[in-house]
Amino acid sequence: MRQVQSVEQRKKEFEEVALEHMDSLYNAALRMTRNESEAQDLVQDAYLRSYRFFDKFEKGTNFKAWLFRILKNIYINKYRKESKRPQTVDVSDVEASGDLMSTATPEDEIFDKLLDDDITSAMDALPEEFRLTIILSDLEGFSYKETAEILDCPIGTVMSRLYRGRRLLRNSLYEYAKKRGYVKD
């Protein structure tokens, strides 16, 4: 009887601290997998795995970051489609100031006109390392240190990926804007 109560208490305690993060986990999972059904499976896998290892969680540390680390690991091992080899991005292209710098219209005005689908497509097309960093930092609000711990990389790498990732995103959004005729040559 004592054993049953303890299992129930453990489950209750887990649900209290874990379920409130479901929207965040699902949102991140959706941007990771780019597929609703896989995102749901990924979230469920992350909950089962974290519940199984709930005893290993160090109380007083950041539970949300712990959950996200589990989510990221399952995504990498199970759901990612990209090659495990690091993707190479043409840095010169990212660093170049590009057409946008010479446009008269501010970019926020140009981007305001874009369709939601364009922004989603641009985000989904980002190479994985940049996409994951933007998800954790810009969407989930993790600090650079927390993001670095979740992604197993140095803080300097987080900073560089964010900077370059946002630039890649901007270049891509600009191409959509050009295609739709929002940018005048």
Binding site: Q40, L48, K78, S97, E107, F111, I119, Y144, M159, R167
Partner: protein, 269 residues
Amino acid sequence: MECRDAYQWLCAYLDGELDRKRVESVEGHLRSCPLCRRELELQRTVKFLVQEQFLSVTAPDYLKRKVVAELERVEEYRESGIQVLDLIRWGTHAAQLYNTKNDLAEVLVPYMEKGLEQNELCVWVTWEISEEEAKDTLAEEIPRLQKYIDKRQLQILSYEDWYLPGGCFDIQCALDAGHKKYQEALSNGYSGLRMTGNASWVEQSDWGSLMEYENLVNTVVHDYRVLLMCAYKECKCTIDNIVDVMNTHRYVISKIDDSWRLRRSAELG
């Protein structure tokens, strides 16, 4: 501060990640550099756009209900031993598409090892490699293998003995053999049955019968404390065969770019 240095810190400046001294240094540069001010605005615009677009996404209500329900059943989940599958529930019928003996071993050795660790009766039905070869392959990773063999927790059988006991494939015989092995697992105190069977012995003329068998397995497997991993040699399969394998297994894994990937993950039925 030069532009090149400022670029390095703009992102962290925007995100409030710099100490006061560095903030002052960046702000000093920004006051005198319109290009870096523009760059900062670009970073801010993109960050805002991403937040505006995606922050309102919420998980569907049924996902929450499903997760809570699965947590109730957490004891039914087993460590598969295979990184790409992670935890799998009793009653899972999965398939592995492979091409080489090494591919086969990469999946089956950790799969069997984990089953032995978790007190499951483990059965490997081999094709293409002998029982002795399978045993040697396992022994490389499992130091106390002989102990498991001696107490019959690990059984290695040939495909002829398992699938073709009467000289030809009989669906009912194969189902009965599986059921008998399951009873053996439970009556000997094991927590369940973990099996892998290599189905690549099948010629195209028998393919229909094999798929009929796989479909019948799906109608009953979820009621048992059983894990099944069917191995199919990909280069021996036609495209239609692969589609059939995809449609008859809860998970299908194969090797792409030198790593194991989930080719299919879907509820059956």
